[in-house]
């Protein structure tokens, strides 16, 4: 959410392939602008989006860590994120695919051309098993690349970003509520299970009208107003 004209002009949504592609650098720049404007939750959302697009963007990782520290929120880290931050998942998937399929073709040729007709030539068997090994490793690498890709999970992830109240918005103040209640049932009067800090990353389990059923990082599940959530992958 941008509040000043400077921020708005700094980051325009790319045209053309806008629905399919986006620039992580643009989101990073947007995050810096939001941070300058004092809207740390919005900055954290932009940084998370930058890292979804390019998990190897080191500056975005460092900036997100700083922003979350200021917001007193823990930085989520899993082995997938750690691996993806070092090796681009897309590259891993591509390399695995090339190795896997090329060795698959080689295996087919070896098998049908009867290059290994007898046990008299052990070298050929060694070759067969070597190719088989690379075939399995290649496909495993491509699957690993897909698994660690943050985009695979990001479609179900939302960031808690409640809108500032109307008065603050009119005054271009990016003050958002510090916390939002997580409720036991989808009703304003329902009992409050927890107060979730703004900027928290949640998993969206289902959506029913103006209420969304979410799971927090600690595994707690409950209802939250849909209007206070922003999808990690923007819905164009």
């Amino acid at each position: 959410m941008l509040f000043t004209s400077n921020h708005a002009e700094a980051f325009q949504i790319p045209s053309g392939k806008s629905a399919l592609t986006a620039s992580p650098e643009k989101y990073y720049n947007e995050a810096l602008a939001e941070k300058d404007a004092g809207d740390l939750p919005a900055a954290s959302l932009a940084l998370r989006r930058a890292l979804v697009l390019d998990p190897t963007l080191a500056v975005a990782q460092q900036e997100l860590q700083k922003v979350l520290s200021k917001m007193e929120l823990p930085m989520e880290s899993s082995w997938q994120q750690k691996l993806a931050s070092r090796y681009a998942p897309e590259k891993i998937t591509f390399v695995g695919t090339v190795i896997g399929w090329s060795t698959t073709v080689a295996l087919i040729v070896i098998f049908f051309l009867q290059i290994l007709p007898s046990t008299k030539k052990p070298k050929r068997w060694r070759l067969f098993f070597l190719v088989l090994f690379f075939c399995l490793v290649g496909h495993a690498i491509s699957v690993l690349g897909v698994i660690i890709d943050p985009r695979l999970h990001a479609r179900y992830e939302v960031v808690l970003l409640p809108k500032p109240d109307s008065k603050a918005a009119l005054e271009h103040q990016p003050d958002r509520p510090a916390t939002t209640p997580l409720r036991a049932t989808p009703a304003d009067a329902a009992s409050v299970l927890a107060q979730l800090p703004t900027g928290s990353c949640l998993i969206l389990l289902s959506q029913h009208g103006v209420w969304s059923y979410v799971r927090t990082a600690t595994g707690q599940e409950g209802w939250i107003a849909s209007g206070s959530l922003e999808f990690l992958i923007p819905k164009n």
Binding site: S69, M75, F112
Partner: protein, 592 residues
């Protein structure tokens, strides 16, 4: 033959087992009744599925009529047993000790007699204290001509004062302010009558905080020779002020279903059958069950030895701590789990306090309670605190928790030691000297590895475009994968087709292909003489087999092969000869 004998033996033994001895027994539902009440007499015939019994039994001062029968067949360990029960309704016509004579039963060709039974009939104004309860409930779906009669009788004899009562169980009458005490309230209702509760029990009073009552536990209990249905409600309560505490009686509103008398002139058996075997008429009787009042003494917590971190925990607790993971990078969160187990006021419990938190950023703990009893009085409460190391630290903070033990009547403080863990890629903790140097504008300390590689804060100029969709959802990736997959399948298909065609070719075709292959190999000039003539001879033999008239023309090749293989001296062959043989074979192939 052997198997036939075995099978015969098996069936013989089975039939033998299936026809046990027949006997008959008689039992009374009650052996002591008030005048005007009825009892049920059951004649059970075991070992038979059918028996002849008298429809009426003549007895002095009693009217005994057959009302129905039920049968049962059981098979346990291939042993079949059957029984049939004939139910009689016994109506006393006078008071005194009356005798039910032996009942004569004819079953499986045998004549059996039951033992005589005694029935004490007392005047209706006298209670029957030692009388066992009726087994037939007026609310139940029982058989039920007799039960309807009994219900009819019961409706006239309901002692509303004996329908139910209540008791309260509080384990101790002297406790501390804020201490939670389990309370158990039992409501007893005569088991002969169905009942339903009309809301939760009312319990408590001024100066008492009561937890919500859990769903009641239902059981049966005998009191004063009467079976009662017991609804037990449990909860925790705590006193909030000191002094004498007068707890008013706990009450529960219930509705008891009492069978109504059948109007005169209507046959109760017929009425019961029309109602599907259930008690014909039932009336709801609302009543309130009440316990006695309870007096307790609430003591104040002692002021002596009051720890600074005491937050109102009263009970008996144990504290354990653990941390996971034990090896992390700086900036990664770790979770310090502090488990408080024991018994006490878990609901109002605040977590242990962390000590020596320098170098850590901590967040409010997540609480989780697992009760080990129905009250929630005993159990384990876990406080998971997420923490992030801000600098090189070797251990987590320690923790302390203070509570008041009402048994030991003193405050106790539990502590956990700092738990060791390893922080990797850590930024060294800032030293006072470095800070001073920096403040004075002098040479600053060398930047940390994290700071050195950090170029954050500057806007990026070079823009790249990335897909929002992951490979599994990208059309291009999916198509590429499919193309590879289809290519592999096509390759397998081509090769498999070729292999199949090769295998299914006729022997003649296979021979021809072999001949063509040999002929091709003969063109290799590097073949030695022996191999060349062997292959040439094979080709010649194939051609002769195809057409015997070629024998003369090709015989020379066979002769030369033999000469090479079996000749005693070394023969030299000219290249021209090999060329000529090849030409002859090629010509003949074309003729073929």
């Amino acid at each position: 033959m052997k198997y036939a004998l075995l099978i015969t033996f098996f069936f013989a033994s089975f039939c033998r087992a299936a026809s046990p001895s027949v006997n008959a027994t008689a039992t009374l539902s009650r052996n002591r009744v008030a005048a005007g009440e009825v009892v049920q007499l059951d004649v059970k015939v075991t070992g038979a599925q059918q028996a002849d019994v008298p429809p009426e039994i003549a007895a002095a001062g009693l009217q005994i009529k057959l009302t129905g029968q039920s049968s049962q067949v059981q098979m346990i360990n291939f042993k079949v047993s059957s029984s049939v029960i004939y139910s009689y309704i016994v109506v006393p016509l006078k008071t005194g000790n009356l005798t039910i004579p032996p009942v004569t039963v004819r079953a499986e060709g045998q004549i059996l007699k039951t033992t005589p039974l005694q029935l004490a009939v007392i005047s209706s104004g006298t209670a029957a204290p030692n009388a066992p309860p009726q087994q037939v409930s007026p609310m139940g779906p029982g058989p039920t001509a007799s039960s309807s009669r009994i219900a009819n009788q019961r409706s006239n004899n309901v002692d509303r004062d004996r329908l139910g009562f209540a008791e309260i169980v509080i384990p101790k009458k002297k406790f501390y302010v804020g201490e939670v005490v389990p309370v158990e309230i039992r409501f007893y209702v005569d088991a002969h009558y169905g009942f339903s509760t009309m809301g939760p029990p009312n319990f408590g009073g001024e100066g008492v905080l009561t937890d919500r009552f859990k769903d009641p536990e239902q059981s049966r209990e005998e009191r004063n020779n009467c079976i009662y249905t017991v609804a037990t409600f449990r909860a925790l309560f705590a006193a909030v002020k000191t002094g004498v505490l007068d707890l008013p009686p706990a009450t529960l509103d219930i509705a008891v279903a009492i069978p109504e008398a059948i109007p005169a002139g209507i046959d109760p058996d017929l009425f019961s059958r029309l109602m599907g075997g259930r008690s014909p008429l039932v009336r709801e009787h609302k009543m309130t069950l009440k316990t006695s009042a309870t007096h307790c003494e609430v003591m104040p917590l002692p002021a002596e030895g009051h720890p600074a971190d005491f937050s109102g925990a009263i009970g008996q607790f144990r504290l354990e701590g653990s941390v996971a993971p034990q090896k992390v990078d700086q900036g990664d969160p770790v979770t310090l789990s502090l488990k408080l187990s024991g018994q006490g006021n878990f609901q109002a419990l605040k977590g242990p306090q962390l000590k020596e938190r320098q170098g850590w950023r901590t967040y409010p703990p997540a609480e989780h309670f697992e009760g080990s009893d129905v009250f929630g009085w005993r159990g384990v409460k876990t406080f998971d605190t997420t923490m992030i190391a801000q600098q090189a630290v070797a251990a987590t903070p320690g923790s302390s928790f203070s509570y008041f033990d009402p048994v030991a009547t003193k405050y106790i403080t539990l502590t956990t030691k700092p738990l060791p863990l390893e922080i990797t890629n850590a930024t060294p903790a800032p030293t006072p000297t470095a800070t001073a140097a920096s403040a004075a504008g002098g040479a600053s300390a060398p930047p940390s590895p994290v700071a050195a590689k950090s170029i954050t804060g500057e806007r990026l100029e070079k823009m790249t475009q990335h897909f929002w969709e992951d490979p599994l959802h990208q059309k291009e990736w999916v198509l590429t994968w499919l193309a590879f997959f289809c290519g592999a399948v096509a390759l397998i298909g081509i090769f498999a087709g070729r292999a199949y065609a090769q295998r299914t070719r006729s022997p003649r075709d296979q021979e021809r292909q072999y001949f063509q292959q040999q002929l091709l190999e003969l063109e290799d000039t590097e073949l030695d003489d022996e191999t060349f003539y062997n292959k040439a001879a094979e080709c010649a033999e194939y051609l002769i087999k195809q057409d015997a008239s070629r024998l003369t023309e090709l015989e020379e090749i066979l002769r030369r092969r033999d000469e090479v293989n079996y000749g005693a001296r070394k023969t030299f062959f000219k290249t021209e000869e090999r060329q000529r043989i090849l030409e002859v074979l090629t010509e003949n192939r074309e003729k073929n």
